[in-house]
Amino acid sequence: MSRVLEIKSVVKRYWNPRSKRWEVILDRISFDVEAGEFIALVGPSGSGKTRLLNLVGGFESQNEGEVLIEGQRIGGPDRNRGIVTQQYSLFPNLTVLDNVAFGLDLEEFTLLNRWTRFLRYREARKGHRKRAMEYLEQVRLDTHAHKHPHQLSGGMRQRVAIAQALIMKPKVLMMDEPFGALDPEAREELQAAMIQTHEKERNTIVFVTHDLEEAAYLATRVLVLMPDKAALARGEGGHARIARDVRTPDRPRKDRRDDPEYWKLVKTIRTTLSA
């Protein structure tokens, strides 16, 4: 397997205006992600999970260390890294179909040449919508294609957001607590859909979650990010590090919850977090 994402001794500091000092959030974080891996990133609130995801996305830059995608340094956000967040994942002004096709439209036509090459754009647009419809069929939302996001339930919206990100075939798909705001039923449904998608397409996924059972159920590998409590008490920031890097049981995920190894893993992560 090839290495898709490399995080090398990454340090992230931020200026705390209250204490008037620089605080370290992430302290020399290092890990690699192979192609097709499903990484779950867990940790207590404020441990820097989302901050780490922002570094991978290129939305922020690290103070030290390197973040590499297929050996190349990250400059800023681009279409190689897709993202699905808990909220505001979709563009409210576009229909479901246009949301999914948004990236495809951008890929071929800039803001200007969609007018200068209007006829070609119109033809290409039809093709983009056809492809978007195929992705919507996969997430069973093709019948809702012409609705706006506000007309969908939370679970449906997240399914559209996943289709919107996956259609671009990003090298890494980042998911920041995507199911955090859903009710248990919708959450389970989306977890099953996520497993199905990953098993079929083998996308490389970095998934941030609070839910340890979800992490152990979905991921092929779980990384536990833990802040240094002593440093926190001294007001020096979380100094978070990878406290544990574990592989999940090697058996079909739909059967995982019946596996004692799965529950043992959940317990191990919980123990690490409460240490």
């Binding site: 681009d78 002004n93 803001l111 990003p170």
Partner: protein, 268 residues
């Protein structure tokens, strides 16, 4: 609260105003049959006759027919339309780039904020000196100067309300900075900007009426000020009602446009 009661309560203040007016007019006319402050129906009929009376004047040797109502309405709507177009165009462009780019914000915000604090009427002498007493330009300039800073700041705030996640998402889908600015930020902020424009219509009309009171030859505000000299309230009151109708119509037109073109914005 049921709708009949709500409707009745809504109508009640209007009934009270009409009642108060009728009583005042009756009392005034009982004391003085030529009382002009609160005209009665026959005086209104006379006033409306004047407003819609066909008049003639010579233009380039040709006789042109006109009514006060038509020339004043067209002149005022033309001015307010021009001012609205210029204000929206500049403030959307400026507010959008101020909200989206820190460098534009740092460069423009102090000026826009300072301009917003200057009462536009205080600039009248300066505007007249710079632009002269031109029929339309001066009036449009007064309206633009009076509303532009406020609308720009409003657009800036609306732009900042667009969720950061939405912007990040667009970048990860391959959008350029310009595409994010136009297709994500402006597209999402636009219905809210239109709401701000609706609120801006009140001050815009006020500035129009004031600006038409100076060095004008036609316009709704011009006619009101002209008739005020003879206390012709039977002309002034219909004009005020007509301005109110036009203002409500413009406001409702924008509201309906938002409902028709951007229904998603009402659900947020």
């Amino acid at each position: 609260m049921g709708w009949p009661l709500r409707l009745a309560l809504g109508i009640l203040p209007f009934v009270a105003v009409v009642g108060w007016y009728s009583y005042g007019s009756y009392q005034g006319h009982a004391e003085n049959p030529k009382y002009k402050i609160l005209p009665n129906l026959s005086q209104f009929r006379e006033g409306l006759k004047q407003i819609f009376q066909e008049r003639k004047h010579l233009r380039d040797g040709k006789e042109v027919k006109y009514t006060w109502f038509a020339v004043d309405t067209i002149a005022s709507l033309k001015r307010i339309g021009m001012a609205l177009g210029i204000t929206i165009g500049i403030s959307v462009a400026l507010g959008l780039f101020m909200g989206a780019f820190t460098i534009v914000d740092a460069f423009s915000s102090p000026l826009v904020r300072t301009m917003g604090k200057i009462p536009p009427m205080a600039l009248l002498p300066l505007i007249f000196v710079l632009l002269g007493a031109m029929e339309d330009t001066t009036k449009v300039a007064i309206m633009v100067i009076g509303t532009l800073p406020v609308l720009t700041q409003d657009v800036y705030l609306k732009v900042q309300e667009v969720p950061r996640e939405s912007i990040q998402k667009a970048f990860t889908l391959g959008a350029s900075t310009l595409e994010v600015t136009v297709r994500v930020i402006l597209a999402q902020a636009w219905p809210r900007i239109l709401d701000s424009v609706r609120l801006m219509l009140g001050p815009l009309w006020a500035l129009l009426i004031v600006s038409e009171s100076i060095a004008a030859t036609q316009g709704l505000g011009y006619r009101i000020y002209l008739q005020q000299r003879q206390i012709n309230m039977n002309v002034i009151i219909p004009y005020v009602l007509w301005i109110t109708i036009l203002a409500i119509a413009m406001d409702q037109a924008i509201k309906l446009w938002i409902r028709w073109r951007h229904p998603w914005a009402l659900e947020r």
